[in-house]
Amino acid sequence: MRDLFLGLTFMLLGAVVVTVASQYPTMASLQYGPSLFPSLIGGGFLIGGLVISVTQLLTLKSQLLGAGASIRTALDFRSILVSLLPCGLIIFYIFASEFLGAALCLGVIMFVLMLVRRTSLPLALCVSLIASLIIYFLFARYLLIPLPTGLLNFWG
């Protein structure tokens, strides 16, 4: 079922890529323009997606015809949500780092992730504090990356 959905998604993506590519300008001197490669790639998505979908449909059909076959996908929603946590925390960093500062945001991210995996509170606090300061000073002071200072600015 998962592959069927993916196959259809790839077909949709292929159609979008081909449509967008068809709007690119053509070159007067050459019959091939900037649309050639994206169109071929879009075509590749369409064909690949179609093959995956058809293969999956045939498998599903044979499963349905099989005696006593049942199609059940056990989805563990908690694990899916927890696996999305790193992405959520990156979005938090993108929006909050200007105001809170990189060091504080990094500390918060580490602290939350450690607590999620049941690290003891004092250990999580100590490690996230020390690690965030090391990363901040390594990149901001040693490698001279302009990481946002945020609230640290107020403390000089």
Partner: protein, 504 residues
């Protein structure tokens, strides 16, 4: 000779040697902690190498990858969890030997085979690459088009699992390579009005997303802490090694040769080299049935192959600018960042850079011996390193690393989106290597095609007008029709067998 001495000077200085030592320790740590891969280690290292001179930067990558591949054997032996995918082929043999109290002996042999394999691959690199580069100097856009297409095709045919999924993965990489201003017309493609995307999708955030963020998401999606207590043995590391070397030296040579060859094929990395070498070793062994039951022979076959594969992958990367595996794909990005365009001209450079690179390879493999020995002795430190503490720190390195390439949050977004997509695809068993090759080779493929078409006013037959180009083209076509030929051959063989049965 003068150029060689210049190369020696570039390597034998305090900065480079310290970088090699630090990278070796980092490589051991990453390799020995289950769930952290050699490619992930290299991807995390790139933002740091960005601020180094070319030689220490390359030295860091070479040493880290070689060490991580060996160190992956440590958790494989003690915990039955391969530290890196390259150790997966012989994990059951290693672990069963550890259960018999022979863990250090096994790891000692792993270490010797890794050093031998690495040095073997390096010798091939030193002798083959310069000669190939002389041939490559004759190449024009026609040959580069076929070479890029050959590399991309290999990545699909060699991939483990579904070829359709490998093909789609490749298409994703190729699509990413088209983002930005078109080389010929200057028209922006898939930039969505974002100025940062005009120059194309940055390679490093994609790598970090694909390998590091993807692994992080998989880790948080599972409940496995990898915290099973190992039974650490106290047997000797090297005392039985001379006996094993005497017995299995042909396996070491064969494994290293297979590893170098497989490593040089685009898309096939150390993991595929190890699997193939293990399978070949088993098919030729007198003790076939012992493989998989705690037999040292298979370990010798595969652990020689995975380290030689690392060196072998550098041959096409340096000579043609076509990566042999995910790590060399990252290296090509680093070389471009450092203004060193990989390709035959890198061998004509008079600054000794290429010799420095060769020397780095030898040192990286030799340094593996003492550091690997220490790692075996202190294995407990690595295998009990809590991932619940390490993973959050790695995420922060990913974040700051992606930002630091252009000091732009766009790269953080790219890392996030790619990591998210990669984790979905990884869960659906899509291989990642074709996507990286697509991203790296996409521009070469398109640019060489377009320049060839401009040169010949759109004459497609011109791709077969030069001898090398025609040969490479024929090779690509042969590769494409190989599944069809295999199918026809099998059918004919089957028909022949049935006829013979009917007659008898």
């Amino acid at each position: 000779m003068e150029v060689f001495l210049l190369g020696l000077q570039l390597v034998l200085n305090v900065e480079t040697l310290l970088v090699i030592l630090a990278a070796a320790l980092f490589g051991v740590f990453v390799g020995a902690v289950p769930g952290l891969t050699a490619t992930m280690a290299v991807a995390l290292l790139v933002p740091i190498t960005f601020y180094m001179d070319p030689v220490p930067a390359i030295a860091a990558i070479v040493t880290t990858s070689a060490m991580a591949i060996f160190a992956g054997d440590i958790p494989a032996t003690y915990l039955n969890i391969p530290g890196t995918p390259s150790s997966a082929a012989y994990v059951s043999d290693s672990h069963l030997l550890a259960c018999k109290g022979r863990a250090r002996e096994t790891l000692g042999m792993n270490l010797i085979c890794s050093v031998f394999g690495g040095l073997f691959g390096t010798v091939i690199l030193v002798f083959v690459a310069p000669s190939l580069a002389e041939v490559a100097l004759q190449f024009s856009s026609f040959e580069y088009f076929w070479l890029a297409l050959l590399g991309l095709s290999c990545s699909i045919f060699i991939a483990i699992g579904s070829r359709v999924k490998a093909f789609l993965s490749l298409m994703i990489g190729l699509l990413l390579s088209t983002v930005g201003l078109d080389m010929m017309s200057g028209a922006p493609r898939f930039t969505f009005g974002i100025p940062d995307l005009m120059g194309g999708v940055n390679f490093i955030p994609v790598m970090i997303g694909m390998f590091a963020l993807n692994e992080l998401m998989l880790f948080y999606g599972s409940s496995d802490e990898g915290k099973r207590l190992p039974s650490l043995s106290k047997d000797s590391v090297f005392s039985l090694a001379p006996k094993h070397i005497k017995e299995y030296w042909p396996n070491m040579v064969r494994g290293s040769s297979i590893g170098t060859l497989i490593g040089a094929l685009p898309g096939a990395g150390a993991d595929i080299a190890a699997w193939i070498s293990y399978a070949v070793g088993k098919s030729r062994s007198k003790e076939k049935q012992a493989y998989g039951t705690g037999h040292l022979e298979g370990i010798v076959d595969a652990s020689s192959a995975n380290n030689s594969g690392i060196s072998g992958a550098w041959v096409p990367a340096l000579v043609f600018g076509i990566p042999g595996d995910s790590i060399t794909a990252i290296v090509i990005g680093v070389l471009y960042m450092k203004g060193m365009n990989p390709g035959p001209t890198i061998f004509m450079d008079g600054t000794g850079l290429i010799y420095a690179l060769f020397i780095v390879f030898f040192i990286a493999n030799l340094v593996m011996l003492p550091i690997g020995f220490a790692a075996i002795k202190f294995a407990k430190v690595f295998i009990l390193a809590p991932r619940k503490i390490l993973m959050p720190i790695i995420l922060c390195f990913c974040l700051v690393g992606a930002f630091s390439i252009n000091n732009s949050l766009t790269d953080v977004w790219i890392m996030l989106i790619i990591g998210f997509l990669a984790s979905i695809l990884a869960r659906c068993e899509f291989p990642m290597a074709p996507a990286i090759l697509g991203l790296v080779l996409g521009t070469t493929l398109e640019n060489s095609f377009m320049s060839s078409m401009l040169k010949t006013n759109g004459d497609m037959l011109s791709f077969f007008s030069r001898p090398i180009s025609a040969g490479l083209g024929a090779l690509v076509i042969l590769l494409w029709i190989s599944p069809l030929l295999t199918m026809v051959y099998k059918k004919l063989k089957n028909n022949h067998r049935q006829k013979a049965l009917r007659i008898s």
